[in-house]
């Protein structure tokens, strides 16, 4: 009996692996091998102009240049981390909140034109990000629609959105009379003064953040919508029978039941925002004054423009670590497994 079972599982696993082989081979060749190769490259001084085998092994020098050695490389990397951190802190909460709100709205059973709204909200997500970026370029021009809209409500001069390196927090501080306190200007981390660290996103980066929020919200709404529709009607009825008000129902029933979905949305949000590239490539190319430089764009710039493919690979692995850490911390906070 036991022998038969062993035999059966054996044949089962053989056929199982056979069926998986094509997908597995693709995964190995197109995913795992490039990752391992990139890891290997990150320990070499490869300039990307000769076959990588001709480069030499330099140990942790690429990582050292990015993290510890004073110089342009470390400063640029620090700037890219700062920019992207503000980007993540701004975009992830905003897009999650808006997407959730939209999902709750289009999930109403008695909403008219439900499918119209669902399509309309989802539309930006299926449009090419480059095309969307180009349209935003027009919207955010000095005489563009955004300024026209803001000008109608606020007494503002036309804002220069697309080439404005001033940090938002710096602007606010300047508004209340704080200008470069010496404590912040004289102390620095990774070659960047504390004053520069707290600059906030530049106005241009802020425009890109709005764009990113607008494009991704639709996808996230769809995921939330699927989560909401997975909540059994019985639960809703039960809470209503128990006399829960709509607000109580939302916070005590809907929200807890959406925890796994929320976790998923936050996770892909964090991963996506730490990898922002195409909007920056199309709109600002890292400028003005490096305020839209992000690690992902730095990878491209170092690898293909500054001939530092090894350093570019090192940036991408540090970025990988950052994303893992952020996801773990976020998991701690949301804890999707507990109900």
């Amino acid at each position: 009996m036991n022998a038969l079972r062993t035999k059966l599982t054996n044949t089962e696993s053989v056929s199982g692996w056979t069926f998986m082989a094509p997908a597995l081979a693709g995964l190995l060749v197109f995913t795992l091998a490039p990752i391992l190769m990139a890891l290997w490259v990150s320990f070499r001084d490869w300039n990307g102009l000769v076959p990588p085998g001709q480069s030499s092994f330099i140990g942790f020098d690429n990582y050292r240049a990015l993290l510890f050695e004073p110089g342009v490389n470390r400063t640029d990397f620090a700037i890219s981390l700062r920019n992207n951190a503000y980007y993540v802190l701004g975009v992830v909460p905003l897009q999650t909140a808006i997407a959730f709100a939209l999902a709750v709205i289009v999930n109403q059973r008695f909403l008219r034109g439900k499918s119209f709204f669902r399509t309309a909200y989802y539309f930006p997500s299926i449009t090419s990000s480059i095309a969307v970026s180009l349209i935003f370029l027009f919207l955010f021009q000095r005489n563009g629609a955004v300024n026209a809209f803001l000008g109608a409500f606020l007494p503002l001069d036309n804002i220069n959105w697309l080439e404005n390196a001033n940090g938002v927090i710096h602007n606010v501080l300047a508004g209340v009379g704080v200008e470069r306190p010496a404590v912040l200007a004289d102390n620095s981390i990774m070659g960047l003064s504390l004053w520069q660290w707290i600059s906030g996103p530049s106005v241009t980066l802020l425009a890109i953040m709005l764009l990113a929020t607008w494009t991704t919200t639709g996808t996230l709404m769809l995921i939330f919508l699927a989560g909401l529709q997975n909540i059994p009607v019985e639960v809703e009825e039960a809470s209503r029978v128990d006399g829960a008000s709509p607000l109580q129902h939302f916070f005590r029933v809907t929200l807890p039941m959406m925890k796994p979905t929320l976790f998923f949305v936050l996770t892909i949000g964090i991963i996506g925002t730490w990898q922002v590239f195409d909007q920056i490539f199309a709109i600002s190319a890292g400028g003005p004054q490096k305020t839209t430089l992000t690690p992902a764009y730095l990878v491209y710039r170092e690898g293909f423009r500054n001939f530092g493919m090894g350093r570019a690979a090192a940036v991408s692995f540090i970025l990988f670590v950052i994303i893992v850490v952020f996801t773990l911390v976020q998991r701690r906070i949301v804890s999707p497994d507990e109900q």
């Binding site: 795992l32 102009l49 490096k290 293909f304 500054n306």
Partner: protein, 427 residues
């Protein structure tokens, strides 16, 4: 429970497979050695076949600035194919730099490709190019400033394909209205920029990048590094004064960036008459002809600075890779492309200028309006640094943006540039 150990047992061969795949990838990368052998073989083949008689396929990889340019180049290549036993094809690619880099890293680059003077040092340093020494007909005919742009490590690497220089473009009616003639020196430029500035127009629209502002450094006797590329000289007096001059223009609103004027690039702002003057290169001709055909504009040489005239020359060369499969055939094609007849044929209908001095007059006859650009050739400097200098250049460019926006100090920017550049020069 039962399947656990089995999964582990399977994990081992899988890991091995992964390593194998990785190793294969690695060895695939290292094929360059084989490629070089092939190159030698190829060379002997050609020799045995008595030069061009053997007939090989040649790939010319480049980028294209307009469909008309593609057509013209393809036509010339067709004539080459008719008179040679080799068969050449022109392959214009988008995202050129990236594509070229991938081709070089793959170990089998195209037989001939474009190299920008700005990227030459890095490519030479990486050992990817074959020197042009002794491969070219009439080497002395090329403009010395262009030969200099493709000379690195005391070697001449590749012949210039054509070139452009910076000049001053101005809006004819606007200048007439204001009653001023095209400025010829810095003082006149400042006066003209002020006189031409109105509430909805800037006198001068000027790009905020080194290949524009650097011309003012040169005109004032400055430069970012010394001649031998051993010492940073960004924060020297001539540069500070040149940047301060430009800073004033922006601070007073007489000069503006393209973004200030809601344009994608200075030429667009100039075409929309949001600015009366700009400083751009030969490409303005094509751009204005296409986008703003009704604009009445003209070109003058760049205003002369306190230390004399200076401008930038932007140029691209035809390079042959160091591991070319058929070096003789490659150089044969290059020689044909840069021969006086073909170059004239190619540049005559375009705003770009031929790189050979001997055909300058013929070209000028076909393009009399473009004389200011051609005159620049005698005092032009190449846009070029050394390997790895791009990082320092980024610092400078950011600083220039900051100076124009009014949020950075000239001294600080130039000092930062020196600080960023010195380690790259090895000091």
């Amino acid at each position: 429970m039962d399947t656990r150990p089995r999964m582990l047992a399977l994990a081992a061969p899988l890991t091995a497979l992964a390593l194998l795949v990785a190793a294969c990838g690695g060895s695939g990368f290292q094929e360059a050695d084989g490629g070089e052998e092939a190159a030698e073989d190829g060379a002997t083949d050609v020799a045995e076949g008595d030069g061009a008689d053997a007939g090989v396929d040649l790939q010319l990889m480049g980028f294209s600035s307009s469909p008309a340019e593609d057509e013209q180049l393809s036509a010339i290549i067709e004539t080459y194919n008719e008179q040679s036993s080799n068969t050449a094809t022109f392959n214009p690619v988008p995202e050129y730099d990236t594509t070229l880099q991938a081709a070089l890293a793959g170990g089998e680059p195209p037989d001939v490709f474009y190299v920008d003077s700005n990227r030459l040092p890095d490519l030479v340093e990486a050992g990817t190019l074959m020197p042009a020494e002794g491969q070219l007909d009439d080497e002395t005919d090329f403009y010395p400033s262009l030969v200099e742009a493709f000379t690195y490590d005391d070697q001449f690497w590749c012949p210039p394909k054509d070139f452009s220089t910076l000049a001053l473009q101005y809006n004819v009616p606007l200048l007439e209205e204001a009653g001023i003639s095209p400025p010829t020196d810095w003082d006149e430029l400042a006066v003209a920029a002020e006189a031409l500035t109105t509430d909805d127009r800037a006198g001068l629209v000027l790009g905020t990048e080194y290949p524009r502002w650097g011309a003012f450094m040169f005109q004032n006797g400055g430069a970012v590094t010394d001649e031998g590329f051993t010492e940073m000289t960004a924060s020297s007096e001539p540069n500070t004064a040149a940047f301060a001059y430009l800073e004033d223009l922006y601070a007073n609103g007489y000069a503006a960036t393209a973004a200030d004027l809601d344009a994608g690039w200075p030429g667009e702002a100039f075409g929309q008459e949001k600015a009366a003057m700009t400083i751009e290169g030969n490409w303005m001709v094509g751009a204005m002809r296409n986008d703003f055909p009704d604009l009445d504009w003209a070109t003058a040489e760049l205003p002369v600075g306190p230390e004399g005239p200076a401008t930038f020359a932007f140029t691209v060369c035809y390079a042959v890779p160091s591991n070319a499969a058929n070096p003789e055939a490659s150089w044969d094609l290059v020689n044909y492309l840069v021969s006086p007849e073909q170059q004239l044929e190619y540049t005559k209908n375009f705003p770009v200028m031929p790189s050979r001095e001997s055909i300058a007059d013929d070209w000028l006859e076909a393009n009399p309006d473009l004389e200011p650009y051609l005159n620049g050739a005698t005092y032009a400097r190449p846009f070029q640094f050394g390997p790895g200098f791009q990082a320092a250049l980024d610092v400078l460019n950011d600083g220039i943006q900051g100076i124009a926006a009014g949020n950075r100090e000239v001294d600080e920017v130039l000092e930062d540039t020196d600080e960023a550049g010195q380690p790259i020069l090895g000091g």
